[in-house]
């Protein structure tokens, strides 16, 4: 299955009944698939909105009403959604938002890039907030993480971002799809707007004119973020046992790096891989732990060095960091990146 189709199918199986989107390459297969699929599901709603701005606010409306809801976009479209993402975060509304990112800034291009890392992991819109950001590296993980994203969104009442890229969205791989959830078995939401029948009326708002109230709301969000930071860190560490150098990469770049590492291992270089899967919360602690026995860290990203900053924060000055990035939608082959990493490895006389 194609990555974009996997996201859509997995979302429906997770109970997503509402999808609002706007065409933008390279994620068009998500709305195309959803338009067909949701028309065949009871209660399924698909709207091709007039803009990304409108679509994210439709997401807010359906989420307020208690539905499992998703939208997807890429680069420029994702920027337009930031207004709504800030509101979703302030209103504590669950939603899943997919960014099959592409080269930027501006219109950029439609080739795969990872340059939306800052935007995704730092909130992206106005105000003090964070959203859970998951970075899959295969079609199987697109299926699993999209599915999981709906549960996380409901559990923490927060938007969850799937940060993929054009390559993940377009590539085809065999996938084992998760089972369909029974909507009636999902945990009850006691905060939704459904009409004040048999209960006092409710309202959902993000306007808190009293600074003390707004401060309290910010503290409340912060406590939630602390809980997420404790409980939802995900990462994959491979070949670390005897490693002298760890490559740090996420998403599709990590997939490429893994190929490179296997190649280098064949040549006897002791290189391992750290792959953050949750970009927020970032696995600071796990990476810091590794500095006890490993000194060299090589960050590889398809951007100008964004996750690099988080890696440096994780190391807290312990160890040496080297960065190699290719922005603009360039896709390196494992062979190319293995040459770059091994040349650093030899220069530093790591082996």
């Amino acid at each position: 299955m194609r990555g974009n189709h996997v996201v859509a199918e997995s979302a429906v199986r997770a109970g997503c009944r509402f999808y609002f989107g706007y065409p933008i390459t390279p994620q068009n297969e998500v709305p195309e698939y959803m338009s067909e699929r949701l028309s065949k599901v009871e209660g399924g709603v698909f709207i091709q909105a007039e803009s990304e701005v409108a679509s994210i606010h439709m997401v807010i409306g359906a989420s307020m009403a208690g539905g499992r809801v998703m939208t997807s976009s890429s680069g420029p479209g994702f920027s337009l959604k930031q207004e709504g993402i800030s509101f979703l975060s302030a209103l504590e509304l669950p939603a899943v938002i997919v960014n099959m990112s592409r080269g930027g800034p501006g219109l950029g291009n439609i080739a795969p890039a990872q340059s939306d890392y800052f935007q995704a992991t730092r909130g992206g819109g106005h105000g003090d907030y964070r959203d859970i950001v998951l970075a899959p590296n295969s079609c199987q993980e697109l299926a699993d993480l999209t599915y999981r994203a709906f549960d996380l969104a409901d559990k923490y009442r927060t938007p969850v971002i799937i940060l993929g890229d054009g390559m993940l969205g377009q590539m085809m791989e065999p996938v084992e799809l998760p089972p369909e959830v029974q909507l009636k078995k999902l945990p009850h939401k006691d905060w939704t707007l459904t009409g004040a029948k048999g209960r006092p009326s409710r309202f959902l708002r993000s306007l808190l004119l009293d600074p003390f109230e707004e401060e309290e709301h910010n503290w409340k969000l912060m406590r939630k973020y602390e809980r997420i930071t404790k409980e939802e860190v995900r990462l994959e560490i491979s070949f670390a046992d005897d490693a002298k150098l760890m490559v740090v990469a996420f998403g599709i770049a990590a997939r490429i790096a893994k190929g490179a590492i296997k190649r280098m291992r064949d040549e006897g270089l002791k290189v391992g891989l750290i792959r953050p899967i949750s970009l927020w919360p970032f696995p600071y602690k796990a990476i810091h732990e590794l500095t006890k026995k490993i000194r060299h860290f090589f960050v590889f990203e398809m951007n100008m060095g964004q996750m690099l900053e988080d890696v440096k924060l994780a190391l807290e000055g312990n160890g040496e960091v080297h960065f190699y990035g290719r922005p603009g939608g360039i896709i390196l082959t494992p062979l190319e990146i293995s040459r770059v990493i091994s040349s650093y490895y030899y220069q530093k006389k790591i082996g």
Partner: protein, 255 residues
């Protein structure tokens, strides 16, 4: 013994919170008549309101119904998502002129074009009230505001927008009427129009909207009585009152 009958009281879909609105402001009147309509149509348990960014943002402190706040201009999009999720509830947005006719024009026109089965109360007072009286898309030529000093001029500021007329052209809109809340007769007409808009939605005709010309004495820098008179003498000349569209063929609400 004389039996006393209560003939006037606070609508039960309004909370017992005093309004914060300025003296002579149309919002208080409108809140009250919307509350009355909700009571009379027995909608309190199945209506959801979408208040705007603007003076009426605190509407959820006054209405005793479920309400979900929208960001500036996005009411129609938010209501779309909500109505599609809850098709048997009545969903209405409450929006000012800057909200609906400037920043939210796209959302509104497309919701109308889709024939989205929602109702909108569009409060037109010709200024950005909450931010201190700046020029609105509906500020009429010659009207002075804090950002159209000396009066709105065509070449400098452009012409005002008649959004309701534009929405009446949209194929998906079902019922569009412009009313005012500047006299007892007009207030009653507004109430009937709001009731009709909700009925149009309940009967599934599509998008309904009531534009209400509403006084803003504070930002117009007028006495409340003069503001009401100004609506008749000046504003309604540019924004004529009446039914702009009605596809229901139902004449019983005609006035």
């Amino acid at each position: 013994m004389i039996l006393m009958k209560k003939v006037f009281c606070r609508p039960k879909s309004l909370k017992k919170t005093p309004f914060h609105y300025c003296p002579g402001c149309g919002h208080s009147l409108l809140h009250r008549i919307i509350g009355e309509v909700i009571d009379e149509m027995n909608l309190q348990e199945r209506i959801i309101g979408i208040p705007p960014a603007g003076c009426a943002v605190l509407a959820y402190f006054y209405f005793d119904i479920d309400m979900g706040e929208a960001s500036h201009g996005r009411g129609a999009a938010l209501a779309t998502g909500m109505k599609r999720a809850l098709p048997d509830r009545v969903i209405f947005t409450y929006q000012g002129d800057g909200d609906i006719a400037a920043i939210g024009t796209a959302e509104t026109i497309h919701a109308a074009s889709r024939g989205e089965n929602i109702s909108t109360i569009f409060v037109n007072n010709g200024v950005y009230g909450m931010t201190g009286g700046q020029m609105a898309p509906t500020t009429i030529l010659g009207q002075s505001t804090t950002t159209s000093p000396g009066g709105r001029k065509e070449r400098r500021d452009g012409l005002p927008i008649n959004l309701s007329e534009m929405l009446a052209v949209a194929k998906g809109s079902a019922y569009i009427e412009r009313t005012a809340v500047n006299s007892p007769a007009n207030i009653l007409k507004t109430k009937r129009a709001i009731a009709k808009a909700f009925r149009v939605q309940i009967e599934g005709y599509g998008f309904s909207l009531v534009e209400v010309l509403s006084p803003c004495p504070t930002n117009w820098k007028m006495e409340p009585v003069d503001a009401c008179k100004w609506i008749n003498d000046v504003m309604a000349v540019h924004f004529p009152l009446g039914v702009l569209k009605d596809v229901t063929g139902d004449r019983k609400d005609a006035h």
